[in-house]
């Protein structure tokens, strides 16, 4: 038979599913094989996702093999009534695939097991063998097993399982080459395992007895074991546990807020320059305003949170890599259980303090459906970074030149948000999500030095997903909001003049006249511009809606201008400050101290001040409690499995915010504040 030439080589695409228990180093192993080529893809219709990578593992006969590696969620069994188990079972049956991949029964299975915990891990191997697919078993963390004096005989294990077994360490890279070679030649195992759970357990025990020589327990604990034991007792101790938790969390937030401030300033500067550059290039008009005030300002206002989101995911991945988070979940479980939330809700609620969107996405890890729904519903009560500009404005107005009181009010906002969240959970768990929170049973992974590469890859991935969202949904929202604020156009004298002149003057004269008009304008810093902007804010669609529904907000002390600010915030709450600036000062340059002062000194149409103490407190309470973020509602609908949950969240948070602000305003007005 003639040898085929290069052009005759037919590429073969093999799907390799990577399966294993949680905490066996599966993702580290996957990253070791796939490198940075992987991407995260969702399983359509579920809350589960997987990392997918296209790699070339070797050649078989004359055909190049492209393998699609799918890193499935970590599971304890394929037969549990849990979302992640169901997804894995569906992938193995060829009925589900990550978005962008074809549903197909995998061509090979890579089962990753933990060498330090072989007996339990053998159950998932048994379940995999029953699928009769070409299989390779990777016995990971062999270096840790050796340190503990655990010996595993790979030949005997391979003989018992009827498939290749490779001892490896994803951390050090040991055995990875053997593993990829074994994967490119994988065959259907020549032995099978029982299908009944009890029989699989016995089968696992029997194999364990043959292949493993556990550490001699008479020699006492290894240094690793003693350290783990001591750390565990400290981190879960009723007092020490809380102290260490507070310290870790303080450091966590300090890093997020402090370090993120630098790149946030750069992004702000960059978008500011981009806005002025585009503003100079485009002629004045609707397209100019759409580009500068709609698209660039909208995307800039969102992308500015990218550093915080990246840092949040990076630090979370690093913390998770140390093994500490599982212990922290138990510490927080004690505090949250009375409110119907479990310790599993800890990471989602923690993330929500940066942004509710990643927080809600992190609820996928909560096993119980009702626990998960309760967490999703309360997550937006946590004070996210988008509220910070509003808190800064209002606390400055309330306590001018008294930074300690400003800080106290700021802290109170965080406490109020978290308390409202806990009480909301208590209410929902005793009504529509009735039932006790599922008590926690959690594997406590060994303490390790976190894998920097895995954390960075995850951060890149999450950052990309966030940017994609900013480039689609948030641009759309910004454009709609800009349009509602900018139309219908107020008659602009400038435009009329230009139109008139363009008929009468030559292009050269027109240019000169236009330049001199610009100079005049900037010299005068025209009152007219401010008046025009205020008129625009008043007469735009948003302004008209504001005037129409102002009576609803009157009991909270809000006039037309504040009502417009609140309405504009429904797309994103940080818009409040710039909307107020546009309405009152005729500019959105809120960094300017003069602008903040003019907002503070703003007057209503009847001449009385807009921001009385009662109004400011009422607004502050409203912004702490209200669901003013359209993207969060979209994510809630997606993650909770329906718009009814998003509407419930919106309705309930609006009710709580309105009631809270009403009580505060009416009480303070009554006592004469």
């Amino acid at each position: 038979m003639p040898t085929p030439t290069a052009s005759q080589i037919v590429p073969i695409r093999r799907i390799i599913a990577v399966l294993g228990n949680p905490n066996v180093g599966k993702t580290t192993l996957f990253n070791r094989i796939a490198g940075i080529r992987a991407k995260t893809a969702n399983f359509p219709g579920t809350t589960q996702d997987a990392r997918v990578a296209h790699v070339r593992l070797g050649t078989q006969q004359h055909a190049e093999i492209e393998s699609v590696l799918i890193d499935l969620p970590g599971i304890y069994s394929l037969h549990l009534d849990l979302s992640e188990s169901k997804v894995c079972a569906a992938v193995l049956a060829g009925t589900a695939a990550p978005a962008g991949e074809e549903s197909h029964i995998p061509d090979a299975l890579l089962v990753v097991i933990d060498a330090t915990n072989l007996m339990r891990n053998l159950s998932i191997v048994g379940e995999s063998l029953a699928k009769r697919l070409p299989t390779v078993v990777a016995v990971n963390m062999i270096d840790a097993a050796r340190r503990r004096g655990i010996h595993i005989d790979p030949d005997k294990l391979s003989e018992c399982l009827g498939c290749p077994v490779v001892l490896c360490s994803a951390r050090t890279g040991e055995g990875i080459e053997h593993l990829t070679a074994a994967l490119s030649n994988a065959n259907v195992p020549d032995r099978s395992a029982p299908t009944d759970q009890l029989a699989i357990e016995r089968w696992a025990n029997d194999i364990y007895a043959i292949v493993s020589m556990p550490a001699d327990q008479s020699t006492g604990q290894s240094t690793d074991d003693k350290l783990t034991d001591r750390l565990d007792r400290a981190f879960t101790h009723p007092v020490l546990g809380i102290v260490s938790f507070v310290l870790v969390m303080t450091g966590f937030f300090w890093v997020i807020f402090k370090l993120a401030a630098y790149p946030m300033d750069w992004i702000d500067l960059w978008f500011g320059s981009a806005g002025s550059w585009v503003g100079h290039i485009l002629p004045p008009g609707a397209v100019h305003d759409l580009a500068v005030d709609g698209i660039i300002a909208g995307v800039g206002g969102t992308v500015i949170f990218l550093p915080q989101i990246c840092l949040l995911f990076f630090l979370l991945a690093m913390l998770e890599g140390t093994g500490y988070l599982a212990r922290a979940a138990f510490v927080i479980d004690r505090a949250m259980r009375p409110f119907g939330l479990s310790g599993h809700a800890f990471v989602p609620l923690l993330s929500s303090h940066a942004c509710a969107i990643p927080g809600i996405m992190a609820t996928r890890a909560i096993p119980d459906r009702r626990d998960r729904l309760a967490t999703i519903l309360v997550a937006p009560f946590m004070s996210c970074t988008a509220r910070i500009p509003v808190y800064v404005l209002l606390t400055t107005i309330l306590f001018p030149d008294r930074p300690s009181m400003q800080a106290l009010a700021f802290t109170l906002c965080y406490v109020l948000g978290a308390s409202a969240g806990l009480l909301t959970s208590l209410l929902f768990r005793s009504t529509i999500l009735r039932g006790k929170s599922r008590p926690m049973a959690l594997e406590l992974p060994s303490y390790r030095i976190p894998d920097l590469k895995s954390a960075l890859l995850l951060t890149l991935d999450r950052g990309y997903i966030f940017l994609k969202k900013a480039g689609t949904l948030i641009v759309a929202i910004s454009i709609v909001l800009w349009w509602m604020g900018a139309y219908p156009r107020q008659p602009e004298r400038k435009v009329q003049l230009i139109a008139q002149m363009s008929n009468e003057l030559s292009p050269e004269e027109l240019k000169q006249a236009y330049a001199s008009m610009r100079e005049q304008e900037s010299a005068m810093q025209s009152e007219l511009d401010i008046e025009l902007a205020r008129a625009q804010a008043r007469e735009s669609f948003l302004g008209r809606i504001g005037s129409t529904i102002q009576p609803i907000f009157a009991p909270l002390g809000y006039d037309r201008q504040l009502t417009v600010g609140v309405l504009a915030s429904f797309a994103a709450r940080e818009v409040f400050v710039s909307t107020m600036a546009v309405q009152i000062a005729g500019t959105d340059e809120v960094d300017n101290e003069g602008v903040l002062n003019s907002i503070a000194a703003a007057t209503r149409d009847d001449g009385s001040p807009v921001f009385t103490p009662a109004t400011s407190w009422s607004l502050l309470v409203f912004y702490v409690l209200a669901s003013l973020c359209l993207p969060t509602l979209v994510v809630t609908a997606k993650e909770a499995g329906g718009w009814k949950w998003a509407l419930l969240q919106l309705g309930w948070m609006s009710f709580v915010a309105y009631t809270g602000a009403f009580i505060v305003y009416q009480t303070l007005t009554t006592i004469g504040a």
């Binding site: 304890y76 069994s77 037969h79 549990l80 009534d81 849990l82 933990d114 330090t116 915990n117 007996m119 339990r120 159950s123 503990r148 759970q197 357990e201 016995r202 025990n205 029997d206 364990y208 007895a209 043959i210 556990p214 550490a215 327990q217 604990q221 290894s222 690793d224 074991d225 003693k226 350290l227 783990t228 034991d229 565990d232 007792r233 879960t236 009723p238 599982a326 212990r327 138990f330 479980d333 004690r334 096993p367 599922r438 008590p439 926690m440 049973a441 959690l442 594997e443 406590l444 060994s446």
Partner: protein, 92 residues
């Protein structure tokens, strides 16, 4: 194939709740009397009948080790509520 299912010492004939073990004490799981969902998850996590465990930390959470030595291998944290429903035979 030889099995390792026979405990070496079985002092206590009657199983006791896991929460009654003292720190460092070893035992073998008899059964998990939890809601069916919890029970199957616990079994898949390794808390299956006849599995050898050691108590590493009492209280909330209660921490047990499945590999026999505290600290190494597989450690599982259990809320007291669950731990009190896991029955074990205490080894001597």
């Amino acid at each position: 194939m030889q099995t390792q299912t026979q405990p070496k010492h079985e002092a206590a004939r009657n199983p006791v709740p896991l929460t009654q073990l003292v720190r460092g004490q070893r035992g073998r799981i008899e059964c998990t009397d939890s809601a069916s969902d919890d029970c199957s998850v616990l079994r898949a996590m390794g808390l299956r009948p006849d599995a050898s465990i050691q108590m590493c930390r009492l209280g909330e959470p209660c921490i047990i080790s499945l590999s026999g030595a505290c600290g190494g291998g597989c450690r599982i944290g259990l809320a007291k509520d669950i731990a009190s429903r896991v029955m074990v035979h205490i080894d001597e």
